[in-house]
């Protein structure tokens, strides 16, 4: 069985552990064994990134070196983690001086960065390592009569030259997976726009406004739910629906791609942690058909 090393990141294990559990279950079912990375550190996204280029490179560089030591590729479930690791890999691979400097720090604990480890976002594993055909074959209980909107996450898909996941202007991986599982993917205004999450620290009300616009646009296009591929986006698009001035009758479920695929692959809901979701997934689960 193919193996990949999960870098959990900070947010998934604390605020959305069901995403982690569902990823392990779904990839396992599709023939990829997830092993978890221990002794890791923050990737440096946004905060350290904003204050020092080299500190940012060192933080991500150590994570890359930890996987390299185990001869594994890295799996990331978060746009910020996958983006940071890829941007720093690109930087370290192309800047010998920076690489040397980071390696000096790493050598104190017997680690070394040479660039061998690849960074894979979850969508790349599903699309490239497993493939749509194999996933389609593994669908046991397809959905029917369900319209869903895909939200990709800015840092998952941009900048394309470095992250190389999907077409940044017109991404299709999540849409394809929605359809493979039997549901209908709806297009909506601002599909590639940000969820607003990165603005939470500086201005929560603006961030919420951006997220609410996104949900509103998806609903206007007929979506009954939103499928995500980043822990930050998932949490942000969920929590903006719980604000004071929001209409709870207009709430739609927000669900990570693996929690959406899991039931269709015949994986039990409790393994996927679906009952922990803050937006009710009932409308999605009730669209599941009997085994084909």
């Amino acid at each position: 069985m193919k193996e990949i090393m999960l870098y959990r990141g900070c947010t998934t294990p604390v605020r959305l552990p069901a995403y982690e559990a569902a990823t392990i279950a779904v990839l396992g079912k599709l023939g990829v064994k997830v092993v978890e990375m221990d002794d890791a550190n923050c990737c440096g996204a946004q905060y350290v990134e904003s204050v020092s280029r080299m500190a940012f490179a060192a933080m991500s560089g150590r994570i890359l070196a930890l996987a390299e030591k185990e001869s594994q590729d890295i799996l990331a479930l978060c746009g910020a983690c996958s983006g940071s690791l890829k941007i720093n890999k690109h930087f370290l691979d192309n800047d010998e001086k920076a690489r040397k400097e980071v390696n000096e720090l790493l050598s104190e604990e017997g680690l070394k960065y040479t660039g061998k480890t690849r960074v894979r976002h979850l969508l790349q594993v599903l699309n490239e390592d497993i493939g749509f055909e194999a996933i389609e074959k593994a669908i046991k209980k397809p959905y029917k009569g369900l319209k869903l909107a895909a939200h990709y996450g800015c840092h998952v898909t941009r900048p394309y030259e470095i992250v190389q996941v999907d077409d940044p202007e017109n991404p299709t991986i999540i849409d394809r997976l929605i359809e493979i599982a039997g549901a209908e993917a709806v297009d909506y205004v601002g599909k590639t726009r940000c969820c607003g999450g990165p603005l939470l620290a500086m201005d929560e009300s603006l961030a919420t406004h951006i997220g609410q616009d996104k949900i509103r646009d998806a609903i206007a296009a007929g979506a009954q739910g939103m499928v995500t591929a980043c822990v930050f986006c998932d949490i942000q698009l969920t929590q903006v629906q719980f604000g004071e001035d929001t209409d709870s009758s207009k709430m739609i479920p927000v669900i990570p791609i693996v929690q959406f695929l899991g039931p269709a692959l015949g994986i039990k809901e409790d393994v996927l942690g679906i009952e922990l979701n803050k937006t009710s997934p009932d409308i999605i689960l009730s669209a599941l058909q009997e085994a084909k």
């Binding site: 959990r8 900070c10 947010t11 294990p13 604390v14 605020r15 552990p17 069901a18 982690e20 559990a21 392990i24 978890e36 221990d38 002794d39 890791a40 550190n41 923050c42 440096g44 946004q46 905060y47 350290v48 990134e49 904003s50 204050v51 020092s52 280029r53 080299m54 500190a55 060192a58 933080m59 150590r62 720090l105 104190e108 604990e109 800015c154 840092h155 941009r158 900048p159 394309y160 940044p168 202007e169 601002g190 590639t192 726009r193 940000c194 607003g196 999450g197 990165p198 603005l199 620290a201 500086m202 201005d203 603006l206 406004h209 951006i210 616009d213 393994v271 942690g273 922990l276």
Partner: protein, 166 residues
């Protein structure tokens, strides 16, 4: 030919151009596609990436370095994707942040978070409770997250001693 500039070039713009990410600022033709693509600009009528770049080009050094605006950018890179001149406002504002920090201008929330991350090794050490551990166990996940703070402390000492607390 490729390096032909279309805009005024202040000393401040030259300074930004020397920081990684800021190199091509003088290729900006002030077309405004970045502002038109920006979701932050959609919800905040003070935030205008084109205008912020213009302020750099005409040399409003003090105003830009002390402003919160470069810190409002979400680095979503929608503008970068659309800019026909190959300029990335996200990268330019990143270069501005690096310079601003050097001169002691950093929003409190960034300062506190950098400090936390480098001391604890990760961002959510305080938020991780028994409740989370139980939840992880119920899901069959390892409750011991085993974060490393030795390395991040080294990083702090080497690259950020004094700077982020300025």
């Amino acid at each position: 030919m490729n390096n032909e500039t279309h805009t005024p070039s202040s000393d401040f713009a030259k300074e930004i151009a020397l920081i990684p990410g800021g190199e091509v600022i003088n290729k900006c033709i002030q077309c405004g596609i970045c502002t038109a693509s920006c979701v932050v600009a959609c919800v905040d009528d003070q935030y205008r990436p084109r205008r912020l770049i213009q302020k750099i080009l005409i040399g409003k050094r003090d105003e830009v370095l002390k402003s919160d605006q470069p810190w409002l950018c979400m680095t979503c890179r929608m503008c970068e994707e659309r800019c026909q001149e190959g300029v990335s406002p996200a990268e330019i504002f990143h270069a501005v942040r690096i310079l601003a920090v050097k001169e002691g201008h950093i929003p409190k929330v960034f300062q506190i978070t950098v400090e936390k991350v480098l001391c604890d090794g990760w961002m959510l050490a305080d938020a991780y409770t028994d409740f989370n551990e139980d939840e992880r166990e119920d899901l069959g996940l390892n409750p011991a997250l085993a974060w490393n703070d030795t390395f991040t402390k080294k990083v702090k000492k080497k690259y950020l001693a004094g700077e982020e607390s300025a």
